[in-house]
């Protein structure tokens, strides 16, 4: 080391080297420099700046946090002001000794401080009964009274037979659009519409499985247009169009033969002719009519298929018809 220093000293005359020597001296600390001046001959070259005593770093004193504010909350405070909206649980703001979570056997669940379990679950601290009460009171001024003479469900149905169902959605996305919101469904009881036999049959064929036989309700749901308004108009159009279409009688409907019938009807079938022939065997003048009970039993037997009940019924009716005991 010292050799190197001497070498440097010798070369100090060289102006280009002088600069570097000065820089090196800057690297060494003050104390070391003084020491090196003490014995002039061997100055120590300190190549490692790490040996320089670092100035002690300032210790940053962090202020103590305030005690949780639950401690200063008065007991009669207005809770909806403290917790006005949905928020993640915070132990310093909720003055309840809550505990939640799993622990060892016979130990109480962890307290509310630093408890992730309590933060995970959604809380309803903002929906306390007083808060809901207050909000309802505030919203009352936007509500109108219930219409007069519409108190019972029968009356609603009587006066307003068509039911329209629309939906609005609220979600946290940049877009306010919701594809589901465009759907509109229209419901009506078919008993509210006036049909004749032909048109009812045709109407039911037109609407297909949109008609519920059990409760007589027709449901038309539309979602093919992009907006709710368009879908609403379209549903109304469908209902109107189907209704009037069902009253149209096409030319080809007259060519419907027995084979095209979807149900067995006693009136139009061979069975009626044969029965009448049996009943009126050998008699002239007044022709006997077939008993409607027998006609019914034949229809059910063929339409619903053979089963014990239908067969028994058919047997009874046949006996009655023929006067057998």
């Amino acid at each position: 080391m010292s050799q190197l220093t001497r070498f440097l000293e010798r070369n100090l005359q060289n102006p280009s080297l002088r600069l570097s020597a000065i820089q090196i001296r800057h690297l060494s600390s003050q104390a070391e420099e003084e020491k090196s001046f003490d014995d002039e001959e061997f100055r120590v070259l300190n190549l490692r700046p790490t040996q320089v005593q670092r100035q002690q770093r300032r210790v940053y004193k962090k202020d103590e946090p305030q005690p949780p504010r639950t401690k200063v909350m008065p007991v009669d405070q207005d809770w909806p002001n403290v917790w006005p909206g949905p928020r993640t649980f915070h132990p310093a703001s909720v003055p309840l000794p809550l505990r939640q979570g799993f622990t060892e056997k016979n130990a109480p669940p962890p307290s509310k401080y630093g408890n992730a379990e309590l933060m995970k679950i959604p809380n309803f601290l903002h929906l306390t009964p007083p808060a809901i009460n207050r909000q309802c009171e505030a919203l009352k001024k936007f509500c109108t009274p219930w219409p007069k003479n519409l108190e019972t469900a029968e009356k609603w149905e009587k006066h307003f037979p068509v039911e329209i169902v629309k939906s609005d959605y609220c979600h946290a996305l940049p877009s306010v659009r919701q594809p589901e919101a465009r759907k509109v469904s229209l419901k009506i009881k078919l008993s509210n519409l006036k049909f004749d036999k032909h048109s009812k049959d045709k109407f039911l064929r037109l609407v297909g499985d949109r008609y519920n036989h059990e409760n007589d309700v027709l449901t038309i749901q539309t979602d093919r247009c992009p907006t709710k308004k368009q879908n609403y108009d379209y549903a109304q159009y469908l209902l109107t169009a189907c209704y009037y279409e069902s009253f149209e009688v096409e030319d080809w409907e007259a060519t419907k033969s027995l084979a095209d019938m979807e149900v067995y009807e006693f009136e139009h079938n061979k069975s009626k002719i044969s029965t009448e022939a049996i009943l009126n065997w050998g008699s002239s003048g007044d022709k006997k009519k077939v008993d409607p009970g027998f006609a019914k039993s034949v229809e059910t037997l063929i339409n619903e298929g053979e089963n014990e009940y239908n067969l028994k019924k058919y047997k009874e009716e046949s006996k009655k018809l023929l006067g057998l005991k």
Binding site: V82, F142, P147, Y169
Partner: protein, 647 residues
Amino acid sequence: MSLIRVSTTLNSLRQSSLRLSTVISRWKSTEAAESIEIPNRIHRSPTAILEALASTVGRDPTAPHYKYHDDPYMVPNSNMTKRTYAMAQESGRKAAKWIKENNRELFMHSEAEPPIAAFAPEMVFTEESEVSEQTLKDLIQQCEITDAVFVYNLMKTKGIEIDDALKQSLLELVCFYNNSEPISEEFIEERWFKQGAANRDRLSKSWKDGDLAEQLFNELPKTAQSYSALIRGMCKYYQVERAYALFHESIEKQIELDTKTFNSLLLVSSFIKESGEMRWEFCVDLLRQMKERQLRPDIGTLNAALKTISTIGHHKLCRTGAIKVLSEFKAIGIEPSLGSYCYVLNIFCREKGPTSHVLVDILNEIQGKEFQIQDIRDTSFFVTAMEICRNHLHDKNLAKKLNELLHTGKNYDLIGDSYKESVYYRHYFGLLCRTEELETFMETYNHLVPNIYIPEPGIMEEILKAVEVNGALELIPRLWTDMTVFEHVNRESLVLQVLKIMQENKPMLNLEKHQGLNEQFAKIADNIYHKIADQDPIKVQKLSFSGQMLGDIISLLVRGAENQKAIDVFKFAEDHQHSIPGTPNESVLLELVDACIEEKSPSVAISCLQYSVENNMNGLQLADKIKKGFTLNENHLAKVNHLVNEK
């Protein structure tokens, strides 16, 4: 008829959404046997429901303002941290904005539907940009002054014709902002914390002479609109001479100016005319001219006239003037705004003038009313009125009435900015502290401190005085904690006062609320001692000990039975005798010697004696005490005798 059903469904988009409402409506059938009365729908604005819900929520005094995080680690506790935290948040917002502008290509997508213009990067105009009249129109609409001026210049160099109407609107924009960019409206916090400082240096001429506004004006045909715009701009930025000259020019050319222009001239009348009488004459003259032109004055005229009057020094003149103006405006049906009342207060309640009870009448008039901002000065009313309550009338009931008005409806919006808010509460506290009973005052204190208002050191001093006068020593520990939290502890006067109160007033131990106070006081004293002794050597404004202070600390420690600590403090005082001005009282040293006797440390007691002798105190009493208290060995005895006899 509608039923509202709320149910949650899973949305096909990656987030769950709330199916807000399912509306079921029915068509009415044609045959109606009984008449059904369906009430009409109550119409409401799009935000009416939100406002109604918001009106059910009040301010929670235990919580910080909602801009801060509600967490003990992040709630600001002093005025400085309040400001720092809010500004830090703001600077984060600015950084985000900067990144958005510097990485434009990353933000070109628009996810929101309908698109949100504020989320998209701002348009950048260069020499090559395609610009049209529509571009300029849009920019003026959005008040983008810098861009608008740039586009205007670009259009000029490209030789695109600009319509006079568009030029006029550009002139209006340039005059309004004086051709410089204002603070963006997004930066609420900056405005909230800055305005107090900004208002003060605005009273000098800042109009840009010969700038774009005047060029535009010269290019335009000389119409009433162009004159109005330029005159108003010049008045706003205090280029009053030229504004006045333009006004004369317009009169010569028989151009009909509007009310707002007259108002702006009235506002700067104190710059146009020197003396009070001349200002008043000028004001009357302008009003007369308005009458000749059949211009209907508005609230701005009233406020401008009152402002002119408030600048007149002559007492009688301005009082009579103000009354005249007010009654005339009342006759034509113009309701004064809060700003007008503020000027009235300035006129009637002057520092050296006679006491005026005009504020009582004003408050009776406007009690329970809700105000909307009409004039920039409206925001000064509450702070001015509270100052008058405190300094002029000394009336706590009036102050409470005023405070009630402030909390009526949305009136709190008119408090102004952070500076005005804290001045308002400073006066309120200062007044209550002097006039109210301490107990009721402390209720207000608990309610407002620290989340709404943090007392300044001056107010703290007043509170401490009140505590001392009332002998309510039990409040001292609490106030001391507050002072530590509010960073008042580096105020020497406050520390001295706290020490003095604790030292001079001994807790009465027969009172229940004074139980344990001695120990608490000792803790506080110890705290103070360490705060000063362990100060950061780099700190610029350091607190320094005085002999008195150390004496107080020692005696408090002794009373709190912290004898060893008291001895340590004494040793410190002894070691630094030469750097600490003053000495502890002799009574304190007596107390300390008692403590030494308890601790059985004669050497300290003797150095105590030595200290007193060295500092020219009568050591006889001390020496007696030492002799009685200890059974001294020869050395010690010799020393004591030596010290006493030396005297």
